[in-house]
């Protein structure tokens, strides 16, 4: 493999290169550690059923995290994914009586793409920081959701719709399969396509990218559009899972998503990261949440552990990789 995550080592000894690899991919060590701890702590943890649950539950944040990773490697951030998800969820359910299930799903998907496009265009044209642009969108799109749903939770008329996502391949639900497929696909995009390499180039050294003739603006618009579309995919899967569009769906999920991506090791300032890392981050988060629930820890412990783990991950990252930032 020649992608950015694995071509790091210059060291000569195989031991050294293992250490190198671990330093750049410490999330897997972390994930393994959490799995071991919870396996010892709860007899229910290492069951096929529970693993299946973790995969499915993680997949939702995971799909958001795929888009977020693209945007973050670009050196940007998208805070509006939770709201976009809610709108796509609402449209794909709300429009079903009018235009039928699949067209409704398609419109939901389009809404995500359109909003992502709007975010990207605003970032590219205005030169505003994406944090501001998408913070505005986070507030505003949620408003759109309420306008559309009329404040009510919309329900599917035919509950067969909720069975669509109930396809299982062994312990893998359709949602989990889709997440893994998308993650692999986007890892391929990142490592093997022009757009993917541009993503690193833009996030890593935007001047160099610009001077090399990469159309930075168009590039960013594409990534925001992808991020919005993936958020819509997540929203549609959620609509299939719940059979209902809650106007409050996906609230604060953008935060969980950012946490998962950063936990994985993708750099907030851009230029560095991969879907592998994001998969690691997503599942670490999912395992932590699931494990703490199985151990019957009170809610506040879960929240506190999450905060502590995140800070720990940052400190570790800083100590291991000496990456200065403020």
């Amino acid at each position: 493999m020649t992608d950015a995550t694995t071509t790091s080592s210059q060291s000569t000894s195989p031991f050294g290169s293992v250490i190198q690899w671990l330093l750049r991919n410490h999330i897997w060590v972390f994930l393994a550690l959490t799995i071991v701890v919870f396996s010892l702590a709860s007899p229910y943890f290492l069951t096929v059923k529970n693993m299946s649950n973790i995969l499915t539950q993680g997949a939702f944040i995971g799909i958001l995290a795929i888009g977020m990773t693209m945007v973050m490697i670009d050196g940007e951030i998208d805070l509006s994914v939770g709201a976009i998800l809610a709108l796509a969820c609402a449209l794909s359910i709300g429009l079903q009586p009018v235009i039928g299930s699949w067209p409704a799903v398609f419109v939901g998907l389009l809404s995500g793409a359109a909003l992502g496009f709007v975010n990207g265009t605003l970032v590219a044209l205005s030169g505003m920081h994406s944090f501001i642009v998408t913070l505005g969108a986070l507030i505003g799109i949620r408003g759109l959701v309420f306008v559309y749903t009329g404040e009510n939770a919309l329900m599917v008329e035919d509950f067969a719709y909720t069975e669509i996502a109930e396809v299982y391949l062994g312990p893998l639900s359709l949602t989990a399969m889709l997440f893994i497929a998308l993650a692999l696909f986007f890892q391929w995009i990142l490592s093997s396509t022009r757009h993917g390499r541009e993503t690193y180039a833009v996030g890593d050294n935007i001047e160099a990218a610009h001077d090399a003739g990469i159309n930075v603006k168009r590039h960013k618009i594409i990534n925001f559009t992808l991020c919005g579309t993936l958020a819509a995919v997540c929203g549609i899967l959620l609509s299939m899972r719940l059979g209902t569009a809650e106007p409050n769906a996906g609230k604060v999920w953008e935060l969980w998503t950012i946490i998962a991506v950063v936990l994985g090791g993708t750099r907030l300032q851009g230029g560095y990261g991969s879907m592998w890392m994001t998969i690691g981050g997503v599942f670490t988060l999912a395992v932590l949440r699931n494990g703490l629930r199985l151990l019957n820890t009170p809610n506040y412990v879960e929240l506190m552990v999450m905060g502590a783990v995140l800070i720990l991950a940052l400190v570790l990252d800083k100590a291991l990789n000496h990456r200065g930032d403020h």
Binding site: G127, I132, L135, G136, G143, L268, G307, H326
Partner: protein
């Protein structure tokens, strides 16, 4: 004449647009520009405003503080609970101390250890939410002798016809503006935010400066919690949820740059007040609550874009 107008728009485009908005609402509802309503709005924004005053310090150094919403919840629970246990004065002292201590934790992590402020304060947001539930055991707290405690002053009383929380907010803003404009510490903040490396080369301890901005942010959140506790005479475990976004939106709307080094308390006060008047105006006009979110979205984008465009002399990047 035309040039003068252009200059005015360029420099104060935001204020002009805001005035147009105020006039528009006022034409449609008599109540809007009444003294009573204006004071009401100011009272309503005094909590977020108070927090925004402190967070502005953080933002001026080029950092973020997303933990203030959860911190507000925790500190409100603390002030109310301690009021019942140790009396109003001790409760306030404990609250402010707790606010500073929590700010100091952020400050050490971001300032001294040099971790990314977005993630640190996000982690803190989650951690503090947990801490609130732990502290309160999940239940609501109320001030038991709400009738006869002087603690009610902060949320409910008026001074010369001006609500006390408004007086506190504006006083804090004035002090903060003074600190930023006229003291060496203020100069250090702008220096660090404007160019951290150059500031270090100028002998400024940027880590220390950043640390103190978080302490200040914690302190103003403590003050906001006192207003909140006194106004509500109780606390829910969710009472400050989402306030960090309102605070940030207000600061951004005012035109303080998230990259640090430019902005002011005056701008923050303006931004926060604008959010308050927009919300109030839309409610008075009878729009559903969530329409204000759509308007906020539009206003943030337009205002920040204009501001940025004016600074760079070009609309498009």
């Amino acid at each position: 004449m035309q040039d003068a107008l252009k200059g005015l728009l360029r420099r104060h485009g935001l204020i002009v647009a805001f005035m147009v908005f105020l006039a528009g609402v006022a034409l449609n509802t008599d109540a809007f520009l009444s003294a009573g309503n204006i004071l009401d709005v100011l009272r309503q924004v005094s909590i977020t405003g108070m927090m925004a005053v402190g967070v502005t310090f953080v933002v001026l150094t080029g950092r973020l503080d997303l933990s203030v919403g959860s911190m507000l919840t925790l500190l409100t629970v603390i002030v109310v609970d301690q009021h019942n246990q140790s009396g109003p004065l001790m409760a306030m002292i404990i609250t402010l101390a707790a606010g500073c201590a929590l700010g100091a934790i952020n400050g050490v992590l971001v300032g001294y250890i040099g971790l990314n402020s977005l993630i640190v304060t996000l982690a803190m947001l989650s951690f503090l939410q947990g801490l609130v539930l732990f502290y309160s055991g999940g239940s609501n707290v109320n001030i038991t002798n709400a009738q006869d405690t002087w603690f009610a002053v902060f949320g409910r009383a008026s001074l010369f016809g001006i609500p006390v929380p408004v007086v506190m907010f504006l006083a804090a803003a004035a002090v903060a503006a003074f600190v930023l404009k006229f003291t060496t510490f203020g100069r250090q903040i702008y220096g660090v935010g404007g160019n951290e490396t150059a500031s270090v080369f100028s002998g400024i301890d940027s880590r220390r400066a950043v640390f103190w901005t978080y302490v200040i942010s914690g302190l103003t959140t403590g003050l906001a919690a006192i207003i909140m506790g006194s106004r509500v005479m109780g606390a829910q475990n969710t009472i400050g949820q989402g306030y960090e976004l309102t605070v940030l939106a207000g600061i951004i709307l005012g035109g303080t740059s998230l990259l640090g080094g430019s902005g002011s308390i005056g701008r923050t006060v303006l931004g926060i007040a604008m959010l308050g008047f927009i919300q109030n105006g839309l409610l008075l006009l009878g729009f559903p609550y969530y329409v204000q979110w759509l308007v906020t979205w539009a206003v943030i984008i337009i205002a920040v874009w204009i501001d940025l465009g004016a600074k760079r002399g070009r609309i498009f990047a």
